[in-house]
Symmetry: C2
Subunit: 141 residues, 2 copies
């Protein structure tokens, strides 16, 4: 199941830190520190188009990503979302939020509140994130 | 676990169509047809603060809500999100989106695109939603 016009079929969507064949985690090229996407590899539109075991697996990877980001970046809050209005290929945004980030407390798609630049992350952040997600319990591909 | 200052501890957050003691589904009073919230009843901040069995249960209710909304309203897309930046009490937005709704394809927190009012839903929509969520498979409270 691929769609030749879909950006998530045609490319990873960011720097890959995890891929178990069913889904992948990428660090997104967005102006928010630690912004990750968890992308279902096949071109599927809605969570309820997946069979329950696949849904559960995808959410386990989302939660493993959330846990790793909390451990590494200690965000004030984590924001999770799956829209797919523009790219209808199942993917989750896992976004660590900080009380002084450019949009907080708005969603990052809402109005900008302040001019804060994205915080810097450590150069080994991708590696440390990859290690933690790979070590998460219960991720059986 | 309750917080006396929290709106989701102090009130339902909408019209209740499901409550199994651990979480509830409410129809939100928002200008989007069929906009539901799935609220964890206890005052918990992040998905990864729940034990895995509770996470799984909450997501099963989110997906049962998505399935019921798809069946009843045939949206173009379903949007799922859990932010909690303003109200840090675990809750999910389950939002049926339509290609001609006021914000599509933007997230509903983004810029309004057009002046379309929210579509009307049938007067028995809350009842039909309640019946479908209660009948969903795999919801063991």
């Amino acid at each position: 199941m691929t769609d030749s016009t879909c950006v998530f079929c045609g490319g990873a969507g960011g720097r890959v830190v995890y891929d178990d064949g069913r889904c992948r985690v990428v660090i997104a090229d967005e102006p928010f520190a630690g912004f990750c996407r968890v992308v279902w590899n096949a071109h599927v539109r809605e969570m309820t188009d997946l069979i329950p075991a696949d849904r559960r697996h995808l959410m386990n990877v989302v939660f493993a990503t959330e846990a790793a980001l909390r451990e590494l970046l200690s965000p004030h809050k984590v924001n999770l979302s799956s829209f797919g209005n523009v790219v209808p290929h199942l993917h989750w945004h896992v976004v660590p939020r900080f009380a002084d980030d450019s949009h907080f407390p708005n969603p990052i798609w809402g109005n900008r509140i302040r001019e804060t630049p994205a915080r810097a992350v450590a150069t080994d952040f991708p590696h440390r994130l990859a290690v933690r997600i790979a070590a998460a319990e219960g991720l059986v591909p």
